[in-house]
């Protein structure tokens, strides 16, 4: 298993009381699988994704990544964990607006690898792979939504992560573009053996998963 979650609870405290966004959840994710997580708004799916990616701490329970207990890591260790093992694809693309397509990929590589030429070469290869080799010096605002998401995907796999987390990656795209993006994610899983965990509202997108999880009130429905 690449991920093991045991009795995980995440509680948010509001002025009108505490809410368990994730409630005593246990889950195993096999290496190389494509997992889709669905559920209504507020069901805790994004919170779970954030915890899996080391972006958010837990209230109780344990989370293991390759048998390493992630919830015991401090902030710097979590940053290193994200840099070395996890790629993220967001609904809003999460590209830096003043960096070109190739620079947006390079900033991810820069955290780990300081060789500028090597990073440039790798970034260009990734842009080529997502079909944007002629858009290397375009800024995000000069790219279409689909192109921006392809740049984001290229960045997410720049360091060959073992785990790719996608939060509504097709939420801002039309159906044909969605299909294209989902195809890329599936290709990443199949060609690179990357474990993909995708949160989605879309039943069509959910069908891409080998393992389909549904959440309700922070608990597994199936």
């Amino acid at each position: 298993m690449i991920i093991q979650v045991k009795n995980l609870t995440k509680t948010y405290h509001h002025h009108d009381g505490a809410i368990n966004a994730v409630d005593n959840l246990s889950l195993d994710i096999p290496k190389g699988s494509f997992v889709t997580i669905t559920g209504a708004s507020g069901s805790g799916k994004t919170t779970l994704l954030l915890i899996l990616g080391g972006l958010l701490g837990t209230t109780s329970g344990k989370m293991f990544f390759n048998d390493s207990e992630i919830n015991l890591h401090n902030e710097d260790e979590l940053a290193t964990f994200r840099s070395n093992h996890v790629g993220f694809v967001m609904q809003s693309f999460a590209l830096v607006p003043y960096l070109t397509a190739i620079e947006n990929i390079s900033i991810a590589l820069n955290v780990k690898e300081k060789d500028k030429k090597k990073n440039q070469k790798r970034a260009f290869e990734l842009l080529e792979w997502v079909g944007l080799q002629d858009r290397t010096n375009h800024y995000p605002k000069e790219l279409s939504a689909g192109q921006q998401q392809r740049v984001a995907i290229a960045r997410s796999i720049a360091k060959n992560p073992e785990l790719l987390l996608a939060d509504e990656p097709t939420g801002n795209l039309d159906p044909s573009l969605s299909e294209e993006i989902l195809g890329i994610l599936k290709e990443i899983k199949e060609k690179q053996g990357t474990t993909v965990v995708m949160v989605t509202h879309s039943p069509i997108a959910a069908e891409y998963g080998d393992i389909k999880i549904q959440l309700k009130n922070g608990q597994l429905v199936k």
Binding site: G53, E75, P97, L99, A108, N110, V111, K112
Partner: protein
Amino acid sequence: MRLTNLALKELWHRKSQLVSGLLAITLGIAVIVGIRSISVVSEKAVAINLDNLGANILVLPQAASVDNYYSADIDAPTFPESYVEKIVTSTLPGVDNMSPKLTRRIKIGNDNIVLTGILPKSEIASKPIWQQGGLVGNKVSASCAPKPGTEPAKYKDAKLQRKGIDDLAATDCYVGSAIAVKLKLKESSSLDIMGTQFKIAKILPETGTVDDDRVFANLHTVQTLLGTGEQIRAIEIMGCCNEISEGLLGKLRNILPDTRITTIGQIVSTQIETNRMMNKISLVFLIIILFVVSISIGNYIWANVNERRKEIGILRMIGYHKCHIYYILVLKALIMGIVGGIIGYFVGTFASVWLGPQFIGIEVNPIFNLLLLSVVLSIIISVLGSVIPAYLAGKIEPFSNMQED
């Protein structure tokens, strides 16, 4: 893509913020440079005015009192003239002018006057008010004026002192204004002093001091007339008030242990207080400006951090550590500090050079040393101003970009 490039790209991306931030630093530094440039000139002018108050240190024989000095009694104690040389050869900083004197109350006809033997050049140098009367063309430098450090102190060269003696002929004398009126004396006429005929070289302008009732003649002639040998009653010193407050009197006492060294309190306290006030005013201005500029920079960086929450979140999400975020923000402040410091120096210098003569009536010269100080100061306030925003930026959660617009 290095962090430095990232910081530069971000700076360039938000040009309006860049301009407003730079403007805050530039204006702050310009005001500091302007005030400093003008205050340096003002301090010199004030120091010259303070020196016009006259000598501020008296070296008297051990047994003498200040009363003895002013009353010029016949039995008042004396000490050797060679003490002047002792001070000269010690090259003490802060001793800018010396005037050895021998005074004695004598009679001219039926009138009592005080005959004072002086070394004329130093006497005149320590009484700038006489210069204004047209006695000599020598301008006296201000004893407390800021010095560049290379200018030799007056009286370091004994030859210069002897040259001063030669300026007053052995039988020439200067007559105080009150005595001139009382005895109906005129310039170029002669005056009999103890059987010796003196030519009145100058009637001194009125000073409102005891000098108005004195006749001044060459020290060595007076010594011969009074039969004192190479003795003097006092050495008047125009000392730098900064040096006085830093222990000049003690140093003089070490050189002349068997003398009584005292300050003319009112003059010294006026000089010291004026200098202190000038320094305090400059300091208050500096603190206010530093505070305002630091707040402006902090405000700019904080506004920038708020605007960049998502970008910072993206960087944190893909694995950037907090220290990377601090580095980017502080680097931006550093770049702005350097650029703002340089521009601020030139703006402040230009403004003070241009406005100084027009509004204050003083000529202000550029102070090139301030360029380095401006840049260093600018960097310090920019970086200090960015510390808290950078710290808060480090606290931005790495999932900030997950929130939809």
